[in-house]
Amino acid sequence: MSQNTATVPDDRLVKGNHDFASITKLITDIPQERTPLWWYIAFGISNILLAVMLAMVVWLIWNGIGVWGLNNPVGWAWDITNFVWWVGIGHAGTLISAILFLFRQGWRTAINRFAEAMTIFAVMCAGLFPAIHVGRIWTIYWIFPLPNSMQLWPNFNSPLLWDVFAVFTYLTVSTLFWYVGLVPDLATMRDRVKGKISKLIYGTFALGWTGGNRQWQNYEKAYMILAGLATPLVLSVHTIVSFDFAVSIIPGWHTTIFPPYFVAGAIFSGFAMVLTLMIVSRKLYGLEDIMTVDHIEKMNIIILVTGIMVGFAYSMEFFIAWYSAFEYEKFIFVNRAMGPYAWAYWTMITCNVVAPQFFWVKKFRRNITLTFILSIVINIGMWFERFVIVVSSLATDYLPSSWGYFTPTYVDILTYVGTFGLFLTFFLLFLRFLPMVAIAEIKGVLPQANPAYYRNGQSTKTQ
């Protein structure tokens, strides 16, 4: 990369003896060759799920929030749980693209495109829930500061409003970031696809990119800045999401440790989800050379680290609860572990704290199957984390008289399942029609991309 971005020296980020052309071919061929059968099957299933979700949403809006299992103490349950869960997953993408970029982690190039796409679709799923969880969705535009004949404005003291701004910004910025990264590769596609129509389409979105250095210069700058902006953003978004709870007064919600704890959790689940998707698609598309076992190991290390952070947060919560000498706080945490929701709590602990410990062992870190299984286990665990926080705190708060137990209805469940339809539909379309790896960036980290490589013979090729 240009003067201000020298990557941390890391040999053989790309396995196999690839040159520029072969890489181009490897990746740009995917959208060009015949659509494989499995894709149609997967796409069909996703569409069915999507249809289910839409049906549930219509049913909800037609009848009212009552079709969910909510009750008087428990005003939020699966809706907000799913929201936080999806947003959390949405964190990996921008994190990989932005933070790893700033830290010059060359290996990110193999997976960032992929992870960013996942981010955008995950955030779309997340955004759905705050929108449909309101009682009168037809008035939801009131949360935007629009001038109106009532002369009323939203309440900027409300964490929920902060959330709206944060998530909206996050979605927008992630999308811009993703698109900027795509432009040179769209140009590559434009120059390789055969069909007239495809040429027109790719050409249009490539915006006439030439690959001229005068363009590269501004491009690099823009990418830098966006990365610089996205980094605090990605940290702030889940911080603000955690404010929804931390700013409240409910024991189990009103916790200062939430921001870092939520961010760690988000990265944790995000990486897990990236792994899940990556392990599948690298196999299906034979990209083992680009998304190598080294990548998987590196990500497993991050999962291990964040997993430990999350575990630490869990224990810290208990300590602070005891240390605060605040009886309601104490009760709520003991109650989580022993009370009516103990089953959920221990599921969470097993999945989030115990499971990642496998990754202390290098053999496990590099074991694809195990990684795949654990990545799924972790996402289950992280869903339960949010469930435990949201529901168990509300179910047994200050006044014992108003305690109540939450039981989901089929609408709760199907709506959640349905969001996978939404997510996968978009993701499959992405895999099918867009270069799923940042071609230009991969080329940039090849040894032969560095002029020095040619100066002193073959020496740099293998050192």
Partner: protein
């Protein structure tokens, strides 16, 4: 049973408002009352159904919907549209009236309040009176006269009467509910004169007959004991729930609360002992409670009398008598206590207990010199001279033998309520002609040859006396919605075959009753709601000579029930009574004060008894399923009903509430609960012993509004023994350690400069005295009536979505297997100054008003429920479905229920949050009136603004007013040392504070077991 039936208050949502019949019907019934009433759109508009309906909105999109205004043609005097009018009337119950004032809006009665002038109510009311409005607008009331089940008319009926009763030799039997109406009495006499072979029997499933028999035994006259709890320093309740199951409960509660009132530590509150089987509301307010089986109550009573016989004269009859309770620790202690408080003590016994108990109680009271002090014996001319329960049994026998050829039933529902062993139904089949007057086409109407639809008391003229004999006229507020007839009109038709108006009948009677110029007296009575100075005479009594003989007899007969044989106790339901209120959604949805169960009756039993029959002694949190038990009496009658563990219930005793399991009566009543009258005998009606209990293994879903009944040691409800209070008067305030601001409550640590309320006058606040509150729940109903709170049905309540703005939390404390204490705590919105709900609302739908109210703006709410989540008191209520629309637009003619709505309160739409507003509509009215009168201030004088709950509360537990005026009652209450804030440590600064409860236990009596 078995599976949960969904309780459909509303059959289908499609039966929507605009039906043409009602249009006509309104114009026919009350053309004088037409303002904005007679066309769909504007009526809904006027009823303030928020945001109209989606349909209307759609319409508005294309064209402005045309809305009509329909002015009066001839405007009645006094009526100014938009200003409610108040009329004095009276509510009859079991033959006794309580004076009320009825609020009407453009001719629609919308709210009932107590009548300040009436000694029976002192401006207060109970749940039955509050809920009476809903009975008036009950769509399921019978609307026509029926002859053998097929449509007929009132004219046909009168014609029939003329023809049928022409033969005065007929063996006519009149079966009437209890009454105290001079007019009805007049007609009764003429009836008995007209038909020499006629007989008149009073039929009340739960009556004061055995009380009267008791006094007859003791004093030789059937007299009604009237207790003055305010004068008593010691009260002993023998299985008597006098705070709830009484015709004089409002007065009782007031007096009782007064006797317990504590302005400062050095005052001496009264003390209440309760010996009972079930855990009654009265028991929950007792300082000492003894849980014994109802079948042991007589023994306990006799033992007490025996013990006292040594110390006072008048109880010689009991001298030397001994039974298992003679050595009970309570007996000696009670005896000592009662001796210490001669003349200022009261002993009462449950009205359903047999005569000997009441006789003994009367004897003890008399011997202790309470007669004339705390107990009065009233001579009630409207009670029969003979035992009506026996008379009823006799009548049924004769009916069965075919000796009765015409049965005239004025009210009452014996087919449903009569004791099983009498088998009234088959007896009724032997009667050729049976005439039945009733509000609903009920079980008895179905078996009768004539059914006449009865008018609600708010629709017709009537009269009667209060429990203590204050005479009132029942004045109608609206023309009969369904052309019903009053009992007087009915009986008059039977006698004369003529259709006389109740108005004229009542006036005729009162010609005799009023001295001085009639019209003036009459108007005075109508205006005041009572005839001043009228009351039953208290007679001086002395022990009857025959007493000792009788006593010897029943002492002889008193047998000891086997220790572990199970007794079934059938009591009137606190809400349904004998089932006559079963079609009232407000009462069905009001949680039972002790169990918090709604929409069902259950078999109450102690944890030990439950375990004995294989029922888990504690419920799993959040699990609505209850085990169903099969109960079989010795005589083989059966009922299957869900078991409910009530800590503190006597072991080997099962309490059942009557009034449920009614069939084909109305949308609300049908299929709710189980009918337990079949388990009842005609002799010793209260309980039957040696019952057989077995678990069926089936389970049944119960909708209970309080899942968790322990306080978990939290300091929300502050109470203390009198001694402790005297040592540390501010114990309640000191109970909570308030982090950071301890010892400096005025200036809590805060990120912001402290906003000092009040910066504007007035500032509203409320204080709730837990020492006065007995937990009856009338505040909930009063609030529901005032604030248009919908009934949501069993399924929604079971899901924990109850809508009540003020709830009464009930906590048990202590040994659940033994005799735990109970605490009642009414919880409305606290109107926190630093309200946590406000800051989290993204659209500022809940904010603070200048006068310190926590406002909920429904029409701004988008329904995130974040505020409810963040409310530490969980007082916010969410419209999960379109409850109001279902409640107000379903049924045959929804407009009827719509007429019950308060036009000053917005009806909430689906998806919005709602909560207690401190009755802001009343506040605004008062502020505006004050401003209009004074021209400058918006500060109403103290007491002008009363919240609905405050106005109804018979115990005066709730005070409300302006905090900027340190002379206001609420300020004075809040300045008391017992005053404390719930969850003060959160620094949300609730405007609603509580006054701690003080218990007054007897040191000699160790912890009650």
């Amino acid at each position: 049973m078995g599976k949960e039936q969904q309780q459909t208050y509303w059959r289908s949502l499609n039966e929507l408002a605009q039906n043409e019949e009602y249009r006509k019907f309104v114009e026919r019934e009350f053309p004088e009352n037409a303002t904005e009433l007679t066309d769909g759109v504007s009526r809904r508009n006027f009823l303030q159904i928020m945001g109209a309906s989606i349909a209307l909105a759609g319409l508005a999109a294309c064209r402005k919907p045309v809305q009509k205004i329909l002015p009066y043609t001839r405007q009645p005097e006094h009526i100014v549209p938009g200003i409610p009018l108040y009329y004095a009337s009276a509510v009859p119950f079991r033959g006794n009236l309580s004076g009320v004032v009825v609020e009407t809006h453009e001719g629609r009665p919308t709210k009932i309040e107590g009548n300040d002038l009436h000694p029976g109510s002192n401006g207060k009311s109970n749940i039955r009176q509050q809920a009476a409005i809903l009975d008036l607008y009950d769509q399921d009331r019978s609307r026509k006269v029926l002859r053998n089940g097929s449509d007929s008319t009132w004219e046909d009926f009168t014609a029939f009467c003329r023809e049928h009763f022409a033969d005065t030799g007929r063996r006519v039997a009149f079966l009437s509910e209890a009454h105290s109406s001079p007019t009805l009495e007049r007609l009764r006499q003429s009836a008995l004169n007209r038909f020499p072979n006629a007989r008149w029997v009073t039929c009340e499933p739960f009556s004061e007959e055995s009380v009267l028999n008791g006094t007859a035994m003791a004093f030789g006259r059937r007299l009604r004991p009237s207790y003055h709890f305010d004068k008593a320093s010691v009260t002993l309740s023998l299985d008597d729930d006098f705070l709830q199951d009484s015709d004089n409960d409002v007065a009782h509660i007031g007096a009782f609360a007064q006797s317990r009132a504590l302005a400062s530590p050095d005052e001496e509150p009264s003390r209440l002992y309760a010996a009972e089987s079930t855990y009654s509301l009265t028991g929950s307010n007792a300082d000492h409670r003894l849980r014994i089986k109802s079948s042991e109550i007589p023994l306990f009573t006799f033992a007490l009398a025996a013990h006292l016989s040594g110390e006072v004269s008048g109880l010689e009859a009991y001298a030397g008598y001994r039974n298992t309770f003679s050595d009970h620790s309570w007996i000696s202690v009670l005896a000592e206590e009662l001796m210490r408080n001669r003349g200022s003590s009261i002993i009462t016994a449950g009205p359903e207990h047999d005569a000997p108990v009441h006789a003994t109680v009367a004897a003890i009271n008399h011997a202790l010199g309470n007669t004339g002090q705390t107990v009065e014996y009233l001579d009630v001319p409207y009670t029969a001279t003979a035992d009506q329960n026996e008379a009823f049994a006799g009548l049924v026998r004769e009916m069965g033998e075919g000796q009765i050829d015409t049965l005239v039933m004025i009210g009452t529902n014996p087919v449903y309520t009569a004791p099983a062993d009498l088998d009234f139904q088959t007896a009724l089949e032997q009667v050729p002609e049976s005439l039945h007057l009733s509000l609903h086409y009920d079980e008895t109407s179905r078996q009768s040859s004539w059914h006449v639809n009865r008018a609600h008391f708010l629709e017709t003229w009537g009269d009667g006396h209060s429990f203590t004999g204050v005479r009132s006229v029942i004045q109608p507020l609206i023309q009969p919605l369904f052309n019903g007839k009053s009992e007087t009109e009915f009986l008059n038709a039977v006698l004369s075959g003529e259709d006389a108006a109740g108005h004229q009948l009542v006036r005729e009677t009162w010609q005799e009753l009023l001295d001085g110029p009639f019209e003036r007296g009459w108007n005075e009575v109508l205006h005041d709601g009572l005839q001043r100075g009228s009351r039953y005479n208290a007679v001086s009594v002395s022990l009857a000579g025959s007493f000792s003989a009788e006593a010897a007899g029943f002492l002889e007969a008193a047998e000891e029930p086997g220790g572990d044989s199970v007794e079934l106790v059938v009591r009137p339901d606190p809400r349904m009574h004998d089932g006559r209120f079963a079609n009232n959604g407000w009462l069905q949805e009001l949680p039972d004060p002790m169990t918090k169960v709604t929409w069902d009756n259950v078999a109450l039993m102690s944890p030990n008894t439950a375990e004995r029959f294989g029922i888990p002694p504690t419920r799993r949190f959040g699990d609505p399923n209850q085990m169903v038990v099969r109960l079989r009496t010795a005589s083989g009658d059966e009922a299957e009903i869900a078991a409910w563990v009530l800590p503190g219930h006597a072991d080997n005793s099962i309490t059942l509430h009557a009034g449920y399991g009614r069939q084909k009566v109305g949308r609300v009543a049908d299929q709710v609960g189980v009918n337990v009258f079949p388990l009842r005998r005609s002799v010793s009606r209260l309980y039957c012993t040696a019952a057989d209990v077995s678990a069926t293994g089936r389970s049944y879903v119960i909708a209970c509004t309080q899942d968790h009944h322990s306080l978990e040691g939290r300091p929300h409800v502050q109470d203390a023994d009198l001694d402790h209070y005297r040592e540390n008067p501010t114990f309640a305030q000191d109970a909570v350690y308030v982090p950071g601001i301890y010892g400096d409550r005025e200036h809590p640590v805060s990120l912001f400069d402290d906003k000092q309320w009040p910066d504007h006058q007035p500032q509203w606040g409320m204080a709730i005295d837990l020492n006065a509150c007995i937990g009856c729940g009338v505040c909930t109903i009063a609030c529901q009536a005032e604030n248009n709170i919908p009934v949501i049905g069993k399924r929604e309540v079971r899901r924990g979505r109850e809508m009540h703005w003020i709830r009464t939390d009930r906590y048990f404390r202590g040994d659940e297997r033994g005799n735990p204490q109970v605490m009642h705590q009414p919880v409305p919105c606290m109107h926190c100054e630093n309200a946590p709900c406000e800051q989290v609302c993204p659209v500022a739908a809940t904010t603070h008003s200048d006068d310190g109210l926590n406002q909920m703006t429904y029409n701004r709410c988008i329904g995130t429920r974040y505020c409810a989540n963040n409310c530490p008191y969980k007082v916010r209520r969410f419209n999960f479905f379109n409850y109001s629309k279902e409640y107000l637009t379903t049924g045959d003619d929804p407009e009827i229920i719509q007429m019950a709505m308060n036009p000053d309160v917005t009806v909430r739409f689906r998806g919005v949050m709602e909560k207690c507003t401190y009755c802001v509509q009343r506040i605004s009215r008062a502020k505006i009136d004050t401003k209009n009168e004074t021209g400058d201030t918006v500060k109403p004088s103290d007491g002008t603004v009363k919240t609905a709950c405050q106005q109804a509360c018979p115990a005066n537990a709730i005070t409300f007013g302006d905090l900027t005026d340190e002379k206001s009652i609420v300020s004075i209450q809040k300045s008391k040392d017992r005053n404390y804030l719930m969850l003060e440590e959160l620094n949300v600064r609730p405007r609603t504070s509580y006054l701690a409860k003080i218990r007054n236990p007897n040191r000699q009596l160790s912890e009650p077991s």
